[in-house]
């Protein structure tokens, strides 16, 4: 869809701008090592985008930088270059480029790459994120929601479930920063999340519910694994949530209009 200025790359750039508070906070706290890591993932993802442009005339997208940032922040830290290149390539190629590029994919490439790494190297060391990075999620979400590139309904759905859990006395998982970063970077991706109004509420709610459930019952897994698994299942369920929303709308309409 193109409306005036708003084509695919505008959305990708706005998303990048929205994520900047998180990215900058993370880079400032982690220092040059994080910068090198981000550069590495940018190189791998960018290389695949350029290769597909040359091979299939598929325009590269700035969204590749979002994938690289998510992987740099969340991928295991003690893996060799080979493993990281393999995981990134799998996510970028199989989940995004093979479907026709960003905007036509059904799963977020970073989610797929992280799930691939998680299943392939179960014993790897997952990174922890500093608490300020978690706080930086709030301005990121506000900027994204204000410009319409991150669905406010999705964020509110997640917050509603958190509020309900707090009222019911269910304990929040520790390392909330990781869940927040996964929410804005992976779950709220406008391409792979639900697209109907009700579907977006359900999408956010489902992510929060799954995350709380995994944190309570899945022992022995790192928070990144819990959050990424919740994100993967949520994006797999997103079409179903849309389908539910549309079916509900049709039923109500039929009842009202006969």
């Amino acid at each position: 869809m193109i409306r005036g200025l708003w084509d695919r790359e505008t959305v990708a750039l706005m998303l990048l701008a929205a994520i900047l508070p998180v990215a900058v906070t993370w880079l400032v706290i982690e220092g040059p090592w994080a910068l090198a890591r981000l550069g590495f993932f940018l190189l791998v993802a960018g290389l695949w985008h350029v290769l597909w442009m040359l091979a299939r005339a598929q325009p590269p997208s700035f969204a590749g930088a979002l994938t690289a940032l998510a992987l740099a922040m969340l991928a295991p830290e003690d893996l060799g270059i080979f493993a990281l290149v393999l995981g990134t390539s799998f996510g970028v190629v199989m989940a995004e480029l093979a479907f026709g590029g960003w905007g036509r994919n059904i799963l977020n490439p970073a989610t797929v790459a992280l799930a691939f790494l998680g299943f392939s190297f179960p014993a790897s060391g997952w990174p922890g994120l500093a608490i300020p990075v978690g706080w930086a999620v709030i301005p990121a979400a506000l900027i994204g929601a204000a410009f319409g590139v991150i669905s406010a309904r999705l964020l509110l759905g997640a917050l509603a479930v958190m509020a309900l859990a707090a009222l019911a006395g269910i304990p929040f998982p520790d390392k909330l920063a990781i869940y927040g970063v996964v929410l804005v970077l992976l779950v709220a991706d406008p391409v792979t999340s639900a697209t109907t109004a009700l579907g977006r509420w359900l999408n956010g709610a489902l992510y929060a519910a799954l995350a709380l459930m995994f944190a309570a019952y899945w022992t022995g897994a790192h928070p990144v694994q819990l959050a990424v698994s919740a994100a993967l299942l949520t994006s797999l369920a997103a079409p179903l949530l849309d389908e539910i929303a549309i079916a509900l709308w049709l039923t109500l309409r039929r009842r009202r209009l006969g």
Binding site: I2, R3, D7, L79, G80, F82, A83, L86, F90, M94, G100, R104, F116, F119, S120, F121, P122
Partner: protein, 217 residues
């Protein structure tokens, strides 16, 4: 010459797995190790050739209405024999193959060949066709089995080629390759590779992507 074509066509051009997408269940389940994949390939090829021979011999006497029942009885009897042979001589591997040898009976590939070829051709061409299809199936199983065992454990046929990090080497085994989804990924990549080279196998597109243009001023 015609027999040679019958034998080689199912290897890649009409491969039962990558083109006809038949016999996937066993192809995905037994390929975690190369030795199970090889055993399964041999078992299926033997059953396929013998059942094609038997069905082709009595093709003029099978009543059309009950032909599937007759074919299943023939295939099932052969499968029982193979299963017993495996249990007698390769007990360890037959344990690891579990039900998948018995499930050759319901393999679409076997019934597909007896129904579509052996039922209407003399014994020799039927057996050659069955052998070709068995080899085509085996080819894919061996490729996927070796990739999964090699990437998943760094070994081939149990012989350690790359030393894993546990053993003091550098190779980090991909545990994912020992799980079922990886067989789908590898098979998908294989189909992709074959169809990029042999473009005549590519299916027509079901959906035309909308053209992206600036809206009219």
């Amino acid at each position: 010459m015609a027999l040679w074509t019958t034998l080689t066509t199912p290897l890649i051009r009409q491969n039962p797995i990558t083109l006809q997408i038949l016999g996937l269940c066993s192809a995905l389940a037994v390929t975690t190790k190369l030795d199970t994949a090889l055993t399964m390939s041999v078992a299926l090829t033997v059953v396929l050739v013998l059942s094609a021979f038997a069905v082709s011999l009595i093709r003029r006497h099978i009543p059309g209405t009950i032909r599937l029942i007759v074919q299943i009885i023939i295939v099932a009897s052969l499968v029982i024999v193979i299963d017993q042979v495996l249990q007698a001589y390769f007990f360890d591997i037959s344990q690891r193959l579990s039900v998948f040898v018995a499930l050759i009976t319901t393999n679409c590939l076997v019934l597909g060949r007896t129904e579509s070829f052996a039922r209407s051709n003399p014994p020799l061409p039927s057996m050659v066709d069955a052998l070709g299809n068995g080899l085509g199936y085996s080819l894919i199983l061996v490729i996927i089995g070796s990739l999964r065992e090699f990437l998943g454990t760094g070994a081939l046929l149990g012989y350690q080629i790359l030393r894993t990090t546990d053993q003091g080497g550098w190779f980090q085994p991909l545990s994912l390759m020992q799980l079922a989804p990886s067989a789908f990924f590898l098979l998908g990549l294989l189909v992709w590779a074959i169809r990029s080279i042999r473009t005549e196998q590519t299916e027509p597109t079901e959906h035309e992507a909308p053209r992206v243009t600036e809206p009219a001023e």
